[in-house]
Symmetry: C2
Subunit: 143 residues, 2 copies
DNA sequence: CGCGTATATTTGCATGTACAAACATACTTC
DNA sequence: GAAGTATGTTTGTACATGCAAATATACGCG
């Protein structure tokens, strides 16, 4: 009875949020592809580039990803020679290598292209509102 | 210079959408835990329960997940004895087993509890609006 | 000082997800 | 009815992610 394009789930925030995240991740990976990095790795590299010496727990907080995820992503970037870790005591500090820093411009550019792409599809005003609303909601939900 | 709780990324839809999806997935998994299923499996089982004989490609469309993902999830539910596949020709049809159907009530209940939880935190009106806006955006972004 | 607790990081394991390719079947057109 | 194309499904492989436990270090208090 009338279930053409609206699924049973479209009223569920879990469902729609997951769907949007998948679409956005695909779009982001496309945008970042010229840098040779996935979207997650690109964002992490930018984070380190903006705050050299940041600790994994700081990255975790900033990116809202679990510490273990950060460990894994950092390993990959280190393996690619884009960042390096310096451990001292219980803390670890992460720095970009010169190669890694050299990528920052193209990452920034890809990022802007990504913004342009989705705001072109959604409208600039709308997409800013949506982003803010989503950000606010995620903060409130995990408080 | 003033970067307390707002990250560099909070203006990026990719970032905020991913963050919200992670939070919501965690919440959903908690809600569905009493059923013994992860949120994805629970939703898939409901989908099959509501349309017995649905094909993987139909599930894929409805859940907005890739066909290969559906294959993997269906395998798991089949292995748990909650659904079964009947292949004929190139098509496959998926049916709930009686055990699987027996779970549908508690899944439905968990789903309502999930709704109650996040709408309690965000406000019912707000969360409905947000869900609709997100759903609309994801549709528009992937055409 | 030394013991208990708190914090930072990593590891083992499991999950969900997708892309590309392989495969299997159906359709179409000549 | 055979060849080429379209559709449905599965497989191989890779990635991102998290939880719980292990590890390592720091801190605080008696």
């Amino acid at each position: 009875m009338g279930e053409k394009k609206d699924s049973t789930y479209c009223g569920c925030l879990y469902y729609s949020a997951s769907a949007l995240a998948r679409v956005m991740t695909r779009m982001a990976d496309e945008s970042f592809a010229p840098t040779g990095l996935s979207s997650s790795l690109a964002l992490l590299l930018m984070t380190v580039h903006k705050r050299p010496g940041i600790q994994p727990c700081g990255i975790s907080e900033q990116m809202q990803l679990s510490p273990s995820t950060i460990t894994r992503l950092v390993e990959k970037l280190e393996h690619k020679g884009l960042i390096e870790r310096q451990s001292e005591g219980r803390t670890t500090r992460v720095y970009p290598t010169s190669v890694g820093s050299g990528l920052s411009a193209s990452i920034e550019e890809a990022w802007k292209k990504l913004y342009a792409k989705y705001s072109g599809l959604l409208g600039e005003e709308k997409s800013r509102e949506l982003t803010a609303a989503i950000y606010e909601a995620s903060r409130r939900l995990e408080g």
